[in-house]
Amino acid sequence: MVWRTHRFDSMGTVVSIMVRMGDGCDEALAEVEAVFRSLDETFSLYRDDSELSRIARHELPLTASSPTVKDAYETALTWRATTRGAFTPNRPDGVVDLNGVVKAMAIESAGRVLGAAGAVDWCVNAGGDVLYDGFSPEKRDWVTGITDPADRGSLLASVALFGQHRAAATSGFSERGDHVWLRGDSEKHFAQVTVFAPNILLADVVSTAVLAAPAGELDDLAGGHSVDVLAVFSDGGLVVTPRLRVQLAA
């Protein structure tokens, strides 16, 4: 069992993996890449030939899409209801965009591939959204650094995984454009929202929803799910949930 690192481009960003594994590591990492590639080929709106692009051009009705797309859409709609529309697969221009769930799906699948191949300790970081299992190379709880939205070259905080959390996701306006579309009744309150959660989809969805919803809904979103949040207001101010506050001071 040795530590291996691997990185590749996918979904318009970079995926970085650390994994402690014995035999079969190359095959597992190749399979992880294939998982990302396959989902990107299906869901990317940057590829003219993807299923989602064909749906966006009305060449293919959503109702006639593949089970993978239907499942992802159903997942996204469920979260749209749960977050009262703050997280939504429906872009203001009417295009169905499942980016918000697909990266998390890919990360989750990557973790399953690594686990099935016998890996116990691993970390998958896809463009700043991270899922962990086991322990770090230093044999301690995995430590996540959170970037400072005002200075992406520095860290705002670092947090060791705690409680049931295995995932960290951050949503912000600072990179890859305004990927988040604000809900109708909302203004741009937060510059960045980081969420720790037991799984990556929950972390991803809640971070997006908190960013997109009015600031007052943070507590409902954080309280309704087993998550912890560190949010940075546009003016640089910070708010944090109680358990995470303890970790930040630890």
Partner: protein, 164 residues
């Protein structure tokens, strides 16, 4: 009175209730406290003076709160107590002189907000957040970077270190 004191002590131990309340907004969820076991140094006689002298809501959350020597088995309702998290009321089930279960009866304030309130985000000063040491970080979470943006990201620096 003794039972009320015990229940009060449990209420005062807000962490017992709220710490076990991560599941969310189900008001009927039953929460189990840690039950003192023989041999741990918490005996009935040691606990008795503390519990009998405590007032309803001012008991301290010590291990003695989990014992109720001489109490009749049954379920007892605590009084309604205001905590920093909102209004709280619990019932305790006594079995064999020990609290075997604590159930939250009321974890809602007058505004009808649920116990979600226990996960309310509050301001924190940057100076309260310990200076993050990037050398001790395993992975970086931030707004999604582009493939080009990655090159100048902290994650890239970290990967370079890891990838040797």
């Amino acid at each position: 009175m003794r039972i009320r004191a015990v229940v009060g002590a449990v209420i005062a131990s807000g962490a017992v209730i709220l710490g076990g309340w991560e599941a969310g907004a189900q008001h009927s969820t039953t929460l189990t406290t840690q039950v003192a076991t023989p041999g741990t140094g918490v005996t009935g006689s040691a606990a008795a003076p503390q519990t009998s002298s405590g007032s309803t809501a001012s008991g301290t959350p010590t291990a003695s709160a989990a014992t109720a020597p001489g109490a009749t088995d049954g379920t007892y309702k605590g009084s309604v107590v205001d905590t920093e998290y909102g209004t709280v009321q619990v019932s305790a089930t006594i079995s064999g002189g020990k609290i075997s279960q604590v159930t939250a009866l009321k974890l809602t304030d007058d505004g009808g907000r649920s116990v979600q309130i226990s996960n309310r985000a509050a301001p924190i000063l940057r100076s309260e957040v310990l200076k993050a040491q990037s050398a001790n970080v395993d992975s970086v979470s931030g707004a999604t970077y582009t493939t080009e943006g990655y090159l100048s990201s902290l994650q890239a620096a970290l990967d370079s270190a890891h990838f040797g």
